[in-house]
């Protein structure tokens, strides 16, 4: 027995859907639209109804009250598209006060000759045999038939065609699969009902809908193509509008609500105009806008890499997603080099200049700009710094990075530092007008200063000073992100 397992992105609950190809509904190779498998042998108020298997239903007994057998649908649980139909199959001699074949509202009545009716719009409906109280019937055989058009034709048995009905959804269905399952899963509806019944189901109620043996035969973006193998699909309410249901997907442990499928988000802030992707190696999601802010919904846990590309600029960052419902945030900015292994990035920095860190120590150190690195040294009780000749625009940047690749004699009394200042004035002992700094550097490594709240242009200075003993640092890279 085949089962349909929809695997969606879990982005919405309830799931939005609508029938697209409802004009072809119901789906039968014969003229008769009433599935004979729907009605079940039953007794109602003294009348025993026997489903014969050839499409006919035999009634016997005396009605002790209003006796009803649902022939197709229950309490207007079906939707018939607008059109003209003919209902027939009531034995001759019927009447509204004895027996008849009719709709739920008893506005369409076949008492033996058939009845043609027109629906001007998609209409909620159901059909039943109705025998009034006190009526005695003996082997009264009904042959329910509903056919399109205004002509009553001879009875033919319903035959399920196995065609397809398109159910369009606003959700992204990322995959689907077939599997085996012995028990019949349930689908609980809330707003509107996706009402699917099947011949092997003994009873179907409007509050607990069962489905089985659905077959997914194809898929396309934003659509689920539901093919009906040995079942048929009834939609409660109008078929033209969007409906909502709680949908379920099958996992190894059983059926779980659609929304509880894995879903996590990664919010990315990135340079506007860039192409933004999010990939875990096998799945790559691409942002549909280039506004500078985008949220990806990822369908799996693992390491996802978000990447922004604009011309020759590239920025990427890895994000670890571990649990469903997790929300991560990432900011991507392109690297802007101020110094890179001998390159002084002069167009931006104006080159790197050399001065004492504090005026009291003038002339007591050196800055060497060679072909591969910047070496800043101070003598005993001296200080020295290298700084950008031009002020650097910091708007849109969040972090200043400085890599010190080697050092000599750094200590708590001979530390290095990074200064961000609005001008290049030095006081007796340090830079004036410093707006951010990182100090007490005594090791090699890459050091950072938060510049995310600085929107003005500033000079960047890297220096070393000494309260006792000479020292030096080798700076290999300075950049902004």
């Amino acid at each position: 027995m085949g089962q349909a397992f929809l695997h969606g992105n879990g982005g919405s609950n309830p799931l939005n859907f609508k029938v697209v190809a409802s004009a072809d509904y119901p789906d039968s190779t014969s003229r008769n639209m009433i599935p004979d498998a729907y009605a079940k042998t039953a007794t109602s108020n003294g009348i025993t109804y026997t489903v014969n298997g050839d499409g006919s239903i035999t009634a016997n007994g005396t009605a002790t009250g209003l006796s009803v057998l649902n022939v197709w649908g229950n309490s207007n649980s079906l939707t018939l598209p607008a059109g003209t139909y003919t209902l027939s199959g009531c034995p001759s001699g019927g009447a509204v006060d004895t027996y008849r074949l009719c709709n739920n509202a008893t506005s369409i009545n076949d008492t033996g000759s058939g009845v043609t009716f027109t629906l001007t719009e998609d209409t909620a409906i159901s059909f039943k045999i109705r025998i009034q109280s006190g009526t005695t019937v003996s082997n009264l055989k009904f042959w329910p038939q509903l056919e399109k058009g205004s002509s009553k034709t001879s009875f033919v048995k319903y035959a399920q065609k196995g065609n397809t009905i398109w159910v369009k959804t606003s959700e992204t269905v990322v995959s689907w699969k077939m599997a085996k399952q012995s028990s019949i899963p349930t689908l609980t509806s809330v707003k509107g009902r996706l009402f699917i019944s099947y011949s092997s189901i003994d009873s179907v109620t409007t509050t607990n809908t069962n489905f089985d043996a659905l077959k997914i035969t194809a898929s396309q973006p934003n659509s689920i193509m539901v093919g009906l193998n040995a079942a048929y699909l009834n939609l409660d309410g109008t078929s033209s509008g969007w409906k909502q249901v709680y949908a379920y997907i099958y996992k190894s442990s059983g059926w779980v609500q659609f929304s509880s499928e894995f879903s996590a988000t990664i919010k990315v802030t990135y340079p506007s105009g860039s192409t933004l992707t999010c990939s875990n190696g096998s799945t790559t999601l691409t942002a549909t806008t280039t506004t500078g802010s985008y949220t990806f919904t990822v369908p799996n846990s693992g390491t996802w890499t978000v990447k922004a590309v604009s011309g020759s600029n590239t920025a990427s960052q890895s994000v670890s997603i571990t649990t469903s419902g997790q929300s991560a945030s990432v900011t991507l900015t392109y690297e802007v080099y101020l110094y890179n292994a001998g390159d002084q990035c002069t167009s931006l920095t104006g080159g790197w200049s050399n001065k004492e860190k504090g005026a009291s120590y003038a002339g007591s150190g050196s800055v060497t700009l060679d072909t591969s690195a910047m070496i800043i040294a101070c003598n005993t009780t001296g200080s020295r710094c290298a700084y950008t000749t031009k002020a650097i625009a910091l708007s849109g940047k969040t972090t200043l990075h400085v890599t010190i690749s080697s050092m000599s004699n750094l200590s708590s009394t001979v530390p290095a530092g990074i200064w961000v200042a609005t001008d290049t004035t030095v006081t007796s002992y340090s830079w004036a007008n410093v707006v951010a700094y990182k100090y007490d550097i005594t090791n090699t490594g890459t050091f950072t200063v938060d510049v995310s709240s600085l929107t003005t242009s500033c000079y960047i200075a890297i220096g070393i000073d000494s309260a006792g003993g000479a020292g030096s640092i080798t700076v290999s890279k300075v950049w902004l992100t």
Partner: protein, 120 residues
């Protein structure tokens, strides 16, 4: 040297709410309260992790709010300080003038008294 207080996010405060850590620094000498409370101070040996996951090791100071606004607040503060000092100075000058006048009157009085004595 100033004593400031930092909260668990390393944001600076000028008063302690009982949960903060006191830090002595000369980084904010001459700065107004608004400027100080717009900053973040990460002490040496500690690490602050920004919302985007980037780590910053102390000692680091950096504005936690738009620096332009902090700078405006500081400039206003300095203007007010200057105006207050100017007013104080003007008051002192006025007081000084009154004292000078009083002293001149006293000198005149003494001179006149001496003349009277000499004439007698």
């Amino acid at each position: 040297m100033k004593t400031i207080y930092i909260d668990s996010d390393y944001k600076c405060h000028v008063t302690d709410d009982g949960t903060m850590t006191a830090v002595e620094t000369d980084a904010f000498d001459g700065k107004c309260n608004t400027y100080i409370e717009g900053y973040r101070f990460v002490p040496s040996g500690e690490v602050w992790t920004r919302a985007d996951g980037v780590e910053f090791h102390g000692e680091m100071i950096a504005p936690a709010e738009d620096w332009r606004e902090l700078d405006n607040a500081q400039r206003n503060y300095e203007r007010e300080q200057y105006a207050a000092l100017t007013n104080e100075n003007e008051s002192l000058v006025a007081e000084n003038a009154e004292l000078l006048e009083a002293m001149a009157a006293m000198v005149d009085d003494v001179y006149n008294q001496d003349l009277e004595i000499m004439e007698e």
